[in-house]
Amino acid sequence: MLSANLSATFYLISGVLFILALRGLSSPETSRQGNFFGILGMIIAITVTFLSIGNFSSGLVVVIIFLLIGGLIGAFIAYKIPMTAMPELVAGFHSLVGLAAVFVAIAAFLNPEAFNLGKPGNIKLGSLIEMSIGAAVGAITFSGSIIAFLKLQGIMSGSPITFKGQHPLNAIILISIIVLTYLLCSTQSSNLFWILLAISFLIGFLLIIPIGGADMPVVISMLNSYSGWAAAGIGFTLENTALIITGALVGSSGAILSYIMCKGMNRSFFNVILGGFGANEKSTSSQNKEQRPVKSGNADDAAFLMKNASSVIIVPGYGMAVAQAQHALREMVDTLKKNDIKVSYAIHPVAGRMPGHMNVLLAEANVPYDEVFELEEINNDFANADVAFVIGANDVTNPVAKTDPQSPIYGMPVLDVEKCKSVLFVKRSLSPGYAGIDNDLFYKENTLMLFADAKKMTEDITKNL
């Protein structure tokens, strides 16, 4: 059995290893080592927990069994999941962290003696507050992530669900969570604890339903942050340094990602949270829809343009993921490179359904990461490039964001695709993107629309090169 001081020291070490795990992600070269530090930190934390309890009764077998069941399921999912489904996977994982936090809080509430928190009905005040916060945030993370998961999977419609009095209702629930926490601490009543959990589940659900599918990158990052704060709350209850450090790291990580995503869409965080985006915009855009001439071409034309180019910039978006076109795209680029054409990739911060989604898909298709550039790095290169190949992206290339102050996406940073000598735009139809607005790029002189499935079109172009 480890002494309390020794185990606390080990928890601190695993906390430091978790910091190093995140630090490793500053570049792809160090990232694998970082992940190893993370695994090491986790092994230390779990081992120390077993040793510090030192109670190897029959309960241990049950614990190991549950650990292995979870581990096997997790490993199975990790190996089977297609890379295109990463947003759903992460949302699902967030919900599990939230639920685990809730369960630990319940366990601590029912049996505080096991955690040295006092006796049932007479739990230390500080611990009770921390426990309630952990449980409430955990419950919000759980139900919010479930909704995010259902929306990403397409089981639930991605369009925002709004109703009258939504915001006042949410405000009332949030206030009652605070009041309930206060009452719970003064009465120690278990009934209040259950009610607190129930309305926290409810508010998580209500907070996410009005947010549209397009805002999922923000929602996922935000829930990532919540799962961290829930873990930190439980960490305070358990007086566990590893958990407090991790909770703070994850909490600030998610908050930063939410900020980056909001900035990528030029929207304020509150604007996203209050929801409803993409529902009201659609009606205005349909009114001023005029018929404008569009040039459309086939794979042959596209191949001709690219063959005569000296540099090509590829702009991938969520549509590429939907069409599973990343491998076909890489083959096309290989052929281009054989013809001594310089190719690079331009990634907008909110391309895809979660931060960095496009980068993972390109990496999966064996695209070297030093050919892939972020918006700020590559935006000036469009003016010198011969061909921009837009595949599955839409709103992030819309020049309206720079020219029309009336547009809902005005001010959003966009890729200056229209500055290229010619633009090839792969798309199924002229339908607007998720922001519900027409893309001016379609009607430019130098734009050639390629109406087809992204994967099929890319393969056809490769054949014609």
Partner: protein, 102 residues
Amino acid sequence: MEIDPFIFRLSIFILSIFIGYYVVWSVTPSLHTPLMSVTNAISSVIIVGAIIAGLAGNSDAILNTSSIFGFLAISLAAINIFGGFLVTQRMLAMYKKKNKDK
């Protein structure tokens, strides 16, 4: 007068938020997806609480309500730990530089 240990934990918490802030800003945007999956995995260190709860029952009554919640939380957190680290590993293994991949 002695300082409440809570203050020490609060200090660790606040300082960790700052560490997190600077460390996460230095994460390259192309690795934001692995960042999310690895933060998922490490936040499942909540499993330590679940293990304590799970082992709290005495040998006569392993399955009291509190430890059942502990067991369930162990499984949930374990899914995340194994799933999170392995899927991160899988993703990171795909990031290759130009010269290696000809």
